[in-house]
């Protein structure tokens, strides 16, 4: 059998800054993996008037971009995108397909994998290749308390959705060149079975929280809603965002979108300040990717204190106000 040039594909999800970042992060990782297995990196771009994104993906590492530009593709549709992707995957036979684990990615990719009768690993937090060139996918299980390494030994392509923020994008290279393959819109695509009645941009802090380098998280140990409010001031001084535990959200000290932990509520700050958080599994699962953790709790044995780099045994509310004061003093000078 003739050996075709192996390729790693990245699904171009460009709808807004956040989704586009995931695509760029995946292009970066795909570039590393491609070197190891002697493959080339390709991206797909579906939509209407999408030249900007084609250029961006080439500048971020794509050697080839498959573009289907048509007014009929203006809205992301699972039914239509799956049908279209299936056609070009069958035609070009990529070895690996990576998709950002956005809401759309997590709805579109399972159907595509099923259509292609191949394996798919969800919400990966690590990707590598082994000596045999197999894609080794690391995925969280049990709320991130366990990690699983998964391979798809025989079926092709090997497919994964990847959690945003796991990989670093490579800098934009204006000199980069790439091949553009224009894919005509097949005339016999199925109709979309989902009717879009309305779609409005939600003003949500959730994504900001997920990407914030500094997060100040508060739990019931803050004592009261009034004292919890000080965390917002601390976050402001530190240029960070405020996260909250489930009990705090239930008590209405913080909004639902500040919730950290459980499905899709993961944060990965470089520094996490944790005030009065006991460290229930649902919460700690959401902060597994945090870099440096500073926890404050009266109880030195709280789970949160055990997993901290610095565990401060004291009243969370007092430390919060003292820290605000001290920071302001030092920053001002």
């Amino acid at each position: 059998m003739a050996q075709r040039k192996r390729s790693i594909w990245v699904f171009g999800d460009y709808r807004n800054y956040f989704q586009n970042r995931v695509t760029l992060q995946l292009l970066s990782r795909a570039t590393d993996l491609a070197k190891k297995i002697g493959a080339e990196v390709c991206a797909t771009v579906f939509g209407h008037e999408v030249d900007e994104w084609v250029g961006e993906y080439i500048a971020h590492g794509a050697a080839r971009v498959y573009v289907c530009d048509n007014p009929g593709l203006k809205f992301y549709s699972t039914d239509i995108y799956v049908a279209l992707m299936e056609r070009i995957v069958r035609q070009y036979g990529p070895e690996i397909i990576l998709v950002g684990a956005t809401s759309f990615g997590r709805e579109f990719t399972p159907r595509l994998a099923k259509r292609l009768k191949t394996g798919l690993t969800a919400d990966c937090v690590g990707l590598d290749v082994d000596d045999a060139g197999l894609l080794v996918q690391t995925a969280p299980a049990f709320g991130g308390n366990l990690l699983t390494r998964i391979v798809t030994p025989e079926k092709r392509p090997q497919m994964a959705t990847v959690r945003p923020g796991v990989f670093q994008e490579i800098p934009h290279n204006y000199q980069a060149t790439g091949e553009i393959v224009n894919v005509p819109l097949p005339g016999d695509l199925p109709r979309d079975r989902i009717r879009l009645i309305s779609s409005e941009r939600q003003v949500s802090r959730e994504q900001k929280l997920g990407e914030a380098p500094v997060v100040v998280c508060g739990g019931r140990g803050m004592g009261s809603k009034t004292r919890f409010k000080n965390l917002f001031e601390l976050a402001r001084v530190l240029g960070g965002e405020v996260g909250a535990t489930r009990p705090v959200v239930y008590a209405k000290w913080a909004d639902e979108d500040a919730l950290v932990g459980q499905a899709d509520r993961h944060i990965s700050p470089k520094v996490l300040f944790s005030f009065g958080v006991s460290g229930a599994i649902q919460h700690t699962a959401g902060i597994k990717n945090a870099g440096f953790i500073i926890a404050v709790n009266k109880n030195p044995n709280a789970a949160m204190m055990k997993m901290a780099d610095v565990a401060i045994v004291a009243d969370a509310g007092q430390v919060c106000t003292t820290l605000i004061r001290e920071l302001k003093k030092r920053i001002r000078t």
């Binding site: 759309f104 099923k114 998964i150 009645i197 500073i294 610095v310 401060i312």
Partner: protein
């Protein structure tokens, strides 16, 4: 009459679990099980639709025999009938094999369904893939992570937040939805419900042979993915403990970790002498 199927899964109640180092799959019978939280929300959504429009709810699961518990729980909560898909050959199924098996069971035992409801994800493997893949296998439309359901004739109108867009979508039935966890707060079982659950005779249990499926189509053999290993991410933390008066602690914190904290906020946090 609206015929609904709620697909549910029993998940382990504890977080650190023994797993089989040979196959790399979890030995599920070692842990106490519970109904996956998101599945409870899916059942609640079905119960709400039933209360509004009438209908029949079939609760269905695939798993080891002990998973029957969650079907009885579903009856206690208001499900009308149950289907248990269980076979040792089905062990170790990935989402591809699971959705394939569920689809065959549905085609044989509840072919005239209108709506399938699944939880948006499980608390153990967390893939959120079985719902969409089951819809694909049955060739029906699906919408993930729905927050509100409104049946209008044969069309189901849903609301959800997807990638920060508040969407209102509509699909004709038959279709599948996966239900988000922030809504449809699960009810408690009533006394009458519990009575029904205990009075319920044997639950219909079907295996691979009843579904006309060979060994190679189900379980680990029917799966495209293989688990290499499962491990616990070990946190390597120094765990420095600071105690004393808040002022003293805060000063020590900022003095010792000036670089870590200061570099992030681009400020020099050294104390003024």
């Amino acid at each position: 009459m609206l015929k609904m199927i709620v697909c549910m899964k029993q998940v382990p109640m504890v977080s650190d679990l023994p797993w089989d180092p040979v196959t790399g799959t979890l030995t599920r019978d070692a842990a106490e099980g519970m109904m996956n939280p998101a599945c409870k929300h899916a059942l609640e959504a079905a119960l709400m639709l039933k209360e509004l429009c009438g209908g029949q709810i079939t609760a269905m699961t695939m798993g080891p025999p002990m998973a029957e518990e969650i079907l009885r729980e579903a009856i206690a909560l208001g499900a009308d009938r149950c289907l248990m898909v269980s076979d040792p050959k089905m062990a170790g199924a990935d989402t591809l094999a699971t959705s394939f098996t569920l689809a065959r069971a549905i085609e044989i035992f509840c072919p005239d369904f209108d709506l399938i409801l699944c939880g948006c994800h499980t608390s153990d493997s967390e893939t959120a893939q079985v719902g969409p893949q089951l819809a694909e296998e049955l060739d029906i439309p699906s919408i993930a992570a729905v927050e509100d359901l409104d049946l209008r004739g044969n069309a189901l109108r849903i609301k959800r937040v997807s990638d920060n867009f508040l969407e209102t979508l509509e699909m004709d039935l038959p279709g599948l939805v996966t239900v988000a966890t922030g809504f449809f707060t699960p009810r408690y079982a009533s006394m009458a419900g519990l009575h029904d659950a205990f009075r319920e005779p044997g639950i219909l249990t079907v295996g691979a042979r009843d579904l006309g499926l060979g060994e190679d189509a189900v379980g680990l053999q029917g799966s495209a993915t293989r688990i290499m290993d499962i491990f616990s991410p070990v946190a390597k933390k120094e765990n420095i403990v600071l105690k004393g008066a808040p002022k003293k602690i805060v000063e020590e914190l900022l003095d010792r970790f000036d670089d870590t904290i200061g570099s992030l906020i681009r400020k020099d946090l050294k104390a003024v002498k």
